[in-house]
Point group: C2
Chain length 190, copies 2
């Protein structure tokens, strides 16, 4: 099969990730922004990395307060999730979009409508050319009881959606195609 | 709906991400490892963050060579992808598992069987308690011609799979549930 070098379109590759809503405080008020660039970054203690464009007010708010939340919307929240990424806090007050609650952190607003909510305290901020990477220790996780199986969020119940770029499509999860740390056992030569 | 504080099970939340295979050189040889903790981290120039446990030989190799590759397997590669995460380079030579090719970087082995391949040069290494976060500038992207639409990898053709934790399931993409930066326009009050 022919491989094509598409390095002239180097923006072409972006890993698919859960579409989330980032919560922060901006000038003392809750603010929300669609966020698709995030990953777990440390196993123990559990930490998340989120990557925010420097032009966003959320970036200013997190630099100031060193706290943020990650909220996981269900696929029935596609429109409102997308809306939080279309309008800027510079022009539109997004504090009333959702029913907000708080856990331990006073500047990490959590969205009641989202089945899973995580509150994070920033332990390191990495400045890059156009974005900040905020590394946050997870200090609290909250979830709808209906979204849990054996005490952990279950994708079959949370019904999250993921974002692919640069085609910019949202996807529901499809069929389960295997179990991690299981499927490969048949290839072991022990 | 009742919110449950599941902070006693704080490992419970992990964002869903593309399951990839990390390529690196370890003691001069190609090595591969299943990797699900990654994200785009900077828009321009395009950079990826990957998060690797310090106990992995891949971590040593990347610290030494400052280069790595990200390879995106199709869902028909679930077993071999998982296998790369089950066996350690300490005990098993994984250099012959795939047909390897190289782009610009001599220590970023690319997997021909994977429809999308990215070569990265490390620009920053962030040491955390149990993991390293390597921030890599994307210097080359390669793809199967059959995986592209308008010059960019198309999820409908790449057929990637994603990993959810802590249930450790691999998922194909399901139905498209909307377009990003589009679905929310109806909520704008202009």
């Amino acid at each position: 099969m022919a491989k094509i070098n598409i390095s002239d379109n180097i923006f072409a590759f972006v890993p698919i990730t859960t579409q989330t809503i980032l919560g922060s405080h901006v000038q003392g008020k809750a603010n929300f922004m669609a966020l698709g660039w995030l990953t777990r970054i440390n196993f123990k203690p559990p930490m998340l990395a989120i990557c925010v464009n420097k032009g966003n007010r959320s970036c200013d708010g997190i630099l100031e307060n060193k706290q943020f939340s990650i909220n996981v919307p269900s696929k029935d929240m596609v429109a409102v999730t997308d809306y939080t990424g279309l309008v800027s806090a510079r022009k539109t007050d997004k504090s009333g979009l959702f029913e907000v609650f708080y856990g331990q952190l006073e500047a990490a607003p959590l969205i009641r409508e989202c089945p899973v909510n995580v509150e994070c305290r920033v332990v390191e901020s990495v400045e890059l050319p156009t974005n900040y990477c905020f590394i946050g220790e997870m200090v609290g996780v909250h979830a709808d009881e209906e979204a849990l199986t054996d005490g952990a969020p279950d994708p079959d119940k949370v019904k999250p959606f993921v974002l692919s770029m640069p085609d910019n499509r949202f996807w529901a999860l499809g069929e389960c195609v295997g179990k991690a740390w299981q499927e490969g056992k048949g290839l072991k030569q022990d």
